[in-house]
Symmetry: C2
Subunit: 421 residues, 2 copies
């Protein structure tokens, strides 16, 4: 059996060696490599220094079969990836008139004259395959060396992204050899990681532990399922795994698409129901409304919202009766319900979300610690309520509270859709 191909990544750029920035291009490259069954054995970052780039490139070629270099193909004097590769592999740089012409015509199309510095980008390594870059001036390069392969890509993220699809994927499809991998993501809201882990334990036994990965962020879990093999087998296995996991985790699975956030799914349900929503928030300060309106086209179902920090605003804008505020306190079930119903009534929406809580660090009172959050959802003549004590700092409490509110609305929308059917 041929040992599987291993990849190494080299990001070039002095700005990536400071205390502020990380090389994120490697994540995009890794995603594609893993999809074709090629693991990454070494990632590295060097500055715009010819000697350092050449040394690291030689080292990468000693440990990996496929080396992907990003950055250092620009027009300025500190872009030296081409020169460093020439040194590392002992090859010449050749000037190509056709590439210069392509670069010059790109500038012309934008109504500009090509600056003299861009001439440098028309140099290519002897024996290299030139990879067109429709989104920028620097072409990419592919070289073979002792049975190993080196790609040079531009470092500008959207240029790189285009070239991954155009150049890297077709090459991997042909050469990766290993079985291609395919993934499906189930997204799960407001269930602790340990509970998800426990719920899906049977699936670990049935499908193998390495086929299922859990990625957790605040109140949001991605269950990533992976399958190898031929296209048909893969998609059959993924369908089977998705079904099984959705069954084990239950209603908390809000989407089977990696890219669908909870606010997107809630929007889809509202749109499908032809319904509208309004919000009345206190401690989240507008985060629920802000999340709902991140989705393009949300004006179709989002009517508006109120951020009611001061009690007077809760009363005057949302009709929360002063006696209720006085008797129960601003952070209470009664006020959450009044906010949700006030949002419905005063903003003329079918559904209303009411949210009040203590995000911290200050504001705790006896019996109401930091993280206490009351959420109510009003709609179809019924208001439901939940209370939780959410963990974490101010930012995390606010994030979790908004997630809790959106998830409650999603469940209500699901039930009402079932009831209507």
């Amino acid at each position: 059996m041929i040992p599987p191909m291993r990849a190494g990544i080299l990001a070039v750029g002095s700005e990536l060696l400071g205390a502020d920035r990380l090389d994120t291009n490697s994540l995009k490259l890794t995603e594609v490599l893993l999809r074709y069954g090629v693991p990454v054995c070494l990632k590295s970052v060097v500055g715009d220094c010819e000697t350092d780039i050449a040394a690291q490139l030689r080292h990468l070629l000693s440990v990996a079969d496929l080396v992907l270099v990003t950055g250092g193909l620009g027009p300025t004097a500190d872009d030296v990836s081409r020169e460093a590769t020439a040194v590392a592999l002992g090859r010449n740089l050749v000037f190509r008139d056709d590439i210069l012409a392509a670069i010059a015509s790109r500038f012309e199309r934008m109504g500009r004259t090509m600056p003299e510095v861009n001439r440098r980008q028309a140099f290519v390594l002897e024996g290299a395959t030139i990879l067109a870059n429709p989104k920028g001036t620097a072409p990419g390069l592919r070289l073979e060396e002792d049975g190993k392969t080196v790609f040079l890509f531009p470092g500008v993220p959207h240029e790189l992204l285009g070239m991954i699809g155009r150049n890297l994927e077709p090459w991997l499809r042909e050469h990766a050899g290993a079985e291609a991998l395919e993934t499906v993501t189930l997204r799960v809201a407001m269930v602790p990681e340990s509970e998800v882990e426990e719920a899906i334990a049977p699936a670990y036994l049935e499908f193998g532990r390495d086929r299922i990965t859990i990625l957790a962020t605040a109140g949001d879990i991605r269950l990533r399922l992976t399958a190898a093999g031929q296209a048909v087998e893969r998609s059959q296995l993924l369908a089977q795994m998705s079904e099984r996991l959705a069954c084990l985790v239950g209603q908390a699975v809000y989407s089977r698409r990696e890219e669908d956030d909870l606010e997107t799914v809630v929007g889809q349900l509202l749109r499908a129901a032809g319904a509208t929503v309004a919000t009345a928030e206190s401690c989240t300060g507008g985060l629920v409304a802000e999340r709902l309106t991140r989705v393009a086209g949300s004006s179709d179902y989002f009517v508006g919202g109120a951020v009611a920090y001061a009690n007077r605003v809760k009363h005057e804008l949302l009709g929360v009766v002063p006696e209720v505020l006085k008797e129960h306190g601003a952070v209470s079930e009664a006020v959450a319900r009044a906010l949700a119903e006030g949002a419905c009534r005063l903003l003329h929406a079918d559904w209303g979300i009411g949210l009040t809580g203590i995000a911290g660090p200050g504001g705790a009172t006896p019996g109401k610690p930091v993280g206490t959050v009351h959420v109510a959802v009003a709609g179809l003549g019924q208001t439901t309520h939940r209370v939780a004590c959410l963990p974490g700092d101010r930012e995390r409490v606010r994030q979790l509270a908004s997630q809790m509110a959106l998830e409650m609305l999603r469940r209500r929308l699901l039930s009402s859709a079932v009831a209507a059917a």
Copy 2:
């Protein structure tokens, strides 16, 4: 002159080679290294594989004088940084009873028995200096090899952080040799990077181009000034540079502290003035309110806000007259002014922000392209207005619009403070 010391970083952990996670420990290490004038020449990540770790470590020692390794010191079988270092440097691993005793007593203090696996953490490299780790079981190690130095640190961020202060900083203070560096950050709102660059050009000549770095995000620029030398010289030079740059950039400098966001500074000004603010937003969907309330204690000056997506809400909640909406359209100066004044009046605040625009991708009309944003600020009996066509996608337009609104309020607060003085 001795060539300056260069550092290399190696993060160990297979989880850092996937498509989801980046090694962020290197940023903390880099920050400290740069403070002591030690540049990083190579950063790298390898998986939990003895051969790969050893190969990369040898390579790092060939290009750097100081090598910092994080991760792979844990108790489980896949933690092999100690073994890999032994291989790379040709040294023995020695079992240390005193370290085992320290680990066991740590477990005892937590009321637990030490698992057998933790015995592995009592092995140290021959000739290594042992670095106590008060926050975890794995001690760190420091080794000298051919005039070069290797540190092995745990990868758990809070354990590492403690050891940076306890072990790395004192070592750097003694050995870095180069002059220590100190930085000051000026933060600048809503000025394009190219304009800032042009404005500060004289300072490049006066202080040297490599002393000033520009870092730009949406509507927010950090000007980072760096000075070397003795403590007194450094702070004098930084004070001088800050003054000069603040003078060149002008009022757009909103803070001289790295950690102060625009919403924090606006909050400080409101608090100082004993004034309150309310918001009335359309296309930002609550983002301005959400940003203002990210700041702990913002309930002292933030009264509340309205997110008025539907025209009916603009009218009923904020008193925008239907005729104005009809005549000028929802995205207009007149509506922005009415929103700002409505927020002031109806939410009983001293200041009101009104914001309306087209975040896209849909919603453009002839003469009102995507990105058109009107912002008005009402207060002290006067309403000011600005319009802009902001570039970028939905997320960027919303971010820039919220920045524009907060910056307008900041300028108004500054003028009113001057007028009051």
